[in-house]
């Protein structure tokens, strides 16, 4: 188990290193020059060259990549081109808001999506199943930003039930939570539908397995059969997805933060792209990549913990 974790961690690090190298190269392909963005349209070529030299943009691509990497491992992601502040400190403040939003959405997605799937699988072809299926299709086919806008219009603009814009203040938990509700739902609805479909299919497959028949034949109560025997096995594919979910939801925060005008790394990324503030963009994309990698890693480890068959180091350890 330990060697497995170490092996997986090493792989995860390798992925992150490759992402950073790729980022440095990709930036070269984007039109626009940060120096010109800083100095404005009337800058002289001399001045631009000087700023470029200050920012290290005149060096070769491998050199830039190495620079970024060698600083990154020491926790230094560079300085903001515009403000001159270290990127890490700028990111830190926004990251909290985004992380809270992401986690809230993931939890919301799981808490609603999984039970919906279980209920639907309980009586396939029944009324409840049909309703959940119909709602799922609608939600899956609606672009997420439309959902966000609709929520904003209904709950905040027309009915004033919940605040529309901003993230509130973390020091006032009630207010902060109120601001969190709409964005979190906007991000979660797609996954409600997706998870409901996934869990339903997975449950139906497991319910037809011989060991579920065994459980019934030995008089286990229906609740135990569904929740303790079937669900435990049916959640395996969901576990794998939940890892990726973390990354997908985090990426989704970009438009939700823009629509709800929330501070966070999503809205930060948008403005940084506009000003060609590469260190900030790079750092944010690195965070996204890390989220995917960590999510995948957690899912793999969860698999090992949940499925005893994967724990067997080699096939010969049969107990007789």
């Amino acid at each position: 188990m330990l060697t497995y974790i170490i092996k997986r961690l090493a792989l995860a690090l390798l992925v992150l290193v490759l992402v950073t190298v790729l980022l440095v190269i990709l930036v070269q392909l984007v039109p626009g020059d940060p120096a010109r963005a800083i100095l404005g349209n009337h800058a002289t070529p001399d001045l631009i060259a000087q700023v470029r030299a200050n920012l290290g943009l005149d060096r070769s691509v491998p050199h830039q990549a190495w620079d970024f990497l060698s600083h990154a491992v020491r926790g230094d992601l560079g300085d903001d081109y515009l403000t001159g502040q270290p990127v890490t400190s700028e990111l830190g403040a926004s990251l909290v808001d985004t992380a809270v939003l992401t986690l809230a959405s993931v939890v919301l997605a799981l808490v609603v999506g999984i039970p919906a799937g279980i209920v639907a699988a309980n009586r396939p072809g029944g009324m409840v199943d049909a309703v959940i299926r119909a709602v799922s299709v609608v939600l899956l086919s609606m672009p997420p930003y439309v959902v966000a806008l609709l929520l904003l219009l209904w709950f905040a603009v027309d009915n004033h039930v919940l605040p529309a814009l901003g993230a509130g203040d973390l020091s006032q938990p009630g207010d902060y939570l109120q601001h969190l509700v709409l964005p979190a739902i906007a991000l979660a609805v797609f996954w409600w539908a997706y998870l409901a479909r996934l869990v339903r299919a997975s449950m139906l497959e497991v319910l037809s397995q011989p060991y579920v028949r065994t459980a019934r034949a030995y008089g286990l109560p229906p609740r135990v059969v569904t929740l303790r025997v079937a669900l435990k096995n049916a959640l395996m594919p969901v576990t794998a997805l939940t890892g990726l979910l973390l990354g997908y939801v985090l990426a989704g925060t970009v438009y939700v933060e823009v629509i709800f005008n929330r501070p966070g790394i999503g809205s930060l990324a948008i403005s940084a792209v506009a000003t060609r503030d590469w260190p900030v963009v790079r750092a944010i994309i690195l965070v996204y990549a890390a989220a995917f990698v960590i999510g995948g890693l957690l899912a793999d480890l969860a698999y090992r913990v949940l499925d005893p068959r994967l724990r067997l180091e080699d096939g010969s350890g049969v107990f007789v």
Binding site: P210, Y211, T214, A217, Y218, G219, K232, D314, V320
Partner: protein, 704 residues
């Protein structure tokens, strides 16, 4: 035997039970007025082919019919209590505590994510058993009772950590947990190897004798049922068509259908003869039968069979649903039907196959072949155990010969077959086909080899493409090998050569029955006009009658075209019935080989002897008398292979030399009969005494 009023003495009484499945517009009557009784401590066998309704019976008794199935008549009484009158919660409390089921496949019937102990505890919880410290000791004692060594440790293990036989023992321990009055074994031994099956049967017998538990033993295997059961009910198309004793069902069955099943069962005495095969398929009933449902397939059917539905009529050994036994219609038939009526009428005694001359070079020469998997080569898989699936096998296949390769799961027989057709690379040794080593083939020569050697894979459906029509699949080899048009045969011709109607050509595989799919596989193998066919378990998953048809087909093809056949099988009686030569494998090695008559008459290896002893026997009691030859334990693990003779931990005759020294291949006759046993001569002469005491023969299968 059956009375209409249930008495309290009976553990189970089923009377006039009918069950119907509705699906959309159609409905099917799975059980049609079935009546059964099981007394205390009695073992009732239920025999029938797939579709006979025997599994529906289990579901109906446990109240677990699928949503589209419903009881439409009759009643089930368990110890006098009408199960139909119980509400769902009361019924739930009956399941597991008063009636428990042992299912077919122990690998899938246990929850893979829960330790065995926790699963047993779930059953205790479900029936409100008190929690406490003595729980563990209760569970451990149950596991010990079914023969698990170190039961405390076993409780903490997951199902995948047990071997197949041990898993089934865990399943049986679960069944016995709350001391139910009735245990239903639903094909409980069908997924197990012959030696494990014998152990489980032994266990079931012992438990019945010690605890007085009633047992309903459901199986498609007439041989197993006759060995174990006190009484037997034979089912056909949802009805009980014969009730008889366990010994009589194989020795003197009364109903023509039972006789046909009997004739199709290869036994120790059936040798080099065609096996009986009943044409046609079991009908699906939509309404209660008004005529004999077996009549369309019956040899003895008369006009009256089409119009009257017979009652269970008294025969000399029990009761049968056949008008032959009706005094009113006695004049219709000259005599009572017998098993021999179904035996194909060909000169059975005449030895078939070519006279093998030792001068003629063999078609296939396998020399010291070894195929190993895993091992220390890869850097990432350092800790993997080397699986020596085939480890030093030498054999030869002559032209026009049928060679039977027999072994249990894990013996390496499939690996050997795949290496023979060059699907696997040998780790050591060689396969020489028609004078050329397969490893030296390349390019055109290899394509030619592929055309001349065909493999029929074990899973008939999975080895056919689900989206291609049968006609395209059987002629596909022509495209692959670019066979000129003049040498091609039409799909219809190919199908006709495997006794399939031309109409099959238009079908896709999912529309075929198991037997048909199997024959399509054979037809495809025949397309290129092969010299060698390697058939891997060609009868697995087939009912006895369909299996016989496939085996007959292979012998016919050999007789007609002179093709050589390597028949890989786990069933020694089956191989004995059709093969010319036999090769018995155990744990990657050949333990005995030679001409089939010689090997089966004077087996020189204890393993062969045990396999022969486990074959069904028509003579009552014979099989039980031979139980001292039971093979103990299970196939060892590759992580820790036995020293000396690889069979010694399971051998009833093992002596000190067996534990230390690898036995040589002992030549037993000039006909090429060899056995890898230190005492082969003595074993063959029947003069070696077992070193292990015979298993406690607790009770017999005779009618009490």
């Amino acid at each position: 035997m059956t009375s209409t009023t249930a008495t309290v003495d009976l553990t189970l009484s089923v009377s006039d039970l009918s069950v119907r499945y509705d699906s959309g517009t159609s409905s099917r009557l799975a059980l049609d007025r079935v009546s059964l009784e099981i007394g205390a401590g009695e073992i009732l066998g239920i025999v029938g082919e797939s579709g006979s309704g025997k599994s529906t019976l289990t579901s109906a008794i446990t109240g677990l019919l699928p949503a589209n199935g419903q009881v439409v008549g009759g009643c089930i009484r368990l110890q006098g209590r009408d199960l139909g009158a119980l509400d769902p919660d009361e019924l739930r409390s009956v399941r597991g505590s008063q009636v428990a089921v042992v299912f077919q496949d122990p690998t899938t019937s246990l929850n893979p994510r829960l330790p065995v102990g926790a699963q047993l505890e779930q059953v205790l919880d479900a029936h409100g058993a008190a929690r406490g410290a003595d729980r563990t000791s209760l569970l451990a004692s149950r596991l010990a009772e079914v023969g698990l060594a170190d039961p405390e440790r076993a409780l903490t293990r997951y199902p995948h950590e047990f071997s197949g036989g041990m898993r089934q023992r865990v399943m049986i321990a679960m069944a016995l947990l709350l001391e139910p009055a009735l245990v239903i074994a639903d094909e409980a031994t069908s997924a197990l190897d012959l030696t494990l099956e014998a152990q489980i049967l032994e266990l079931l017998l012992r438990l019945r004798d010690e605890r007085g538990t009633s047992l309903m033993f459901i199986s498609h295997d007439l041989g197993v049922v006759s060995q174990l059961c006190d009484r037997v009910a034979v089912m056909y198309a949802g009805r009980v068509i014969e009730e008889t004793s366990g010994t009589a069902v194989l020795a003197s069955p009364a109903h023509p259908y039972t006789q046909a099943l009997d004739a199709a069962t290869p036994t120790a005495s059936s040798q080099r003869r065609r096996l009986a095969s009943v044409p046609g398929r079991m009908p699906d009933l939509t309404a209660p039968a008004t005529s004999c449902s077996f009549a369309p397939r019956c040899l003895h059917a008369a006009e009256v069979c089409e119009t009257l539905s017979p009652e269970l009529l008294t025969t000399s050994t029990g009761r049968a649903r056949c008008l032959v036994y009706d005094p009113e219609h006695q004049s219709t038939w000259k005599r009572e039907p017998v098993v021999a009526d179904w035996q194909p009428t060909e000169a059975a005694a005449e030895p078939r196959g070519p006279a093998v001359s030792s001068e003629e070079p063999p078609l296939v020469l396998v020399d010291d072949l070894a195929v190993h998997f895993g091992g220390t080569r890869g850097r990432w898989r350092r800790h993997r155990t080397t699986i020596r699936a085939v480890d030093g096998v030498s054999l030869r296949v002559h032209r026009g010969q049928i060679l039977g390769v027999v072994g249990e799961s894990g013996s390496g027989k499939t690996t050997l077959g795949q290496a023979m057709v060059d699907l696997l690379r040998p780790t050591r040794g060689s396969v020489v086909f028609d004078g050329t080593a397969t490893s030296s083939l390349s390019g055109a020569a290899r394509r030619g080899f592929r055309r001349r050697v065909q493999m029929i894979f074990q899973d008939a459906y999975a080895s056919l493409s689900p989206r291609m029509r049968v006609s395209e699949q059987v002629t596909e080899p022509y495209l692959i090998h670019r066979v000129p048009g003049s040498e091609r045969r039409s799909a219809e011709e190919l199908l006709a050569s495997v006794n399939l109607p031309a109409s099959v050509a238009r079908l896709v595989p999912s529309a075929l029955s198991g037997g048909q799919a199997r024959r399509v596989g054979v037809a495809r193998a025949l397309a290129g006009g092969p010299d060698l066919i390697v058939a891997d378990e060609p009868t697995s998953g087939l009912d006895q009658s369909a299996a016989s048809a496939v085996l007959n087909l292979l012998t016919d093809l050999r007789d007609r075209t002179g093709v050589s056949v390597v028949l890989i099988s786990h069933s020694l009686p089956q191989v004995k019935a059709v093969a010319d030569a036999i090769c018995v494998m155990y744990f990657g090695q050949v333990v005995e080989q030679g001409p089939v008559d010689v090997v089966t008459r004077d087996p020189g290896h204890p393993y062969t002897q045990a396999l022969l002893a486990l074959a069904p026997d028509r003579e009552p009691g014979r099989r039980l008398a031979r139980r001292r030859l039971l093979v103990a334990g299970e196939v060892p693990s590759w992580g820790d292979p036995p020293t000396g003779c690889r069979f010694h931990p399971r051998c009833a005759f093992a002596r000190d030399v067996c534990r230390t020294t690898t036995p040589p291949q002992v030549q037993l006759s000039d006909a090429g009969h060899t056995a890898a046993c230190h005492f082969a001569d003595l074993v063959a002469a029947g003069q070696l005494e077992p070193t292990r005491p015979a298993p406690v023969a607790a009770g017999t299968a005779a009618t009490p």
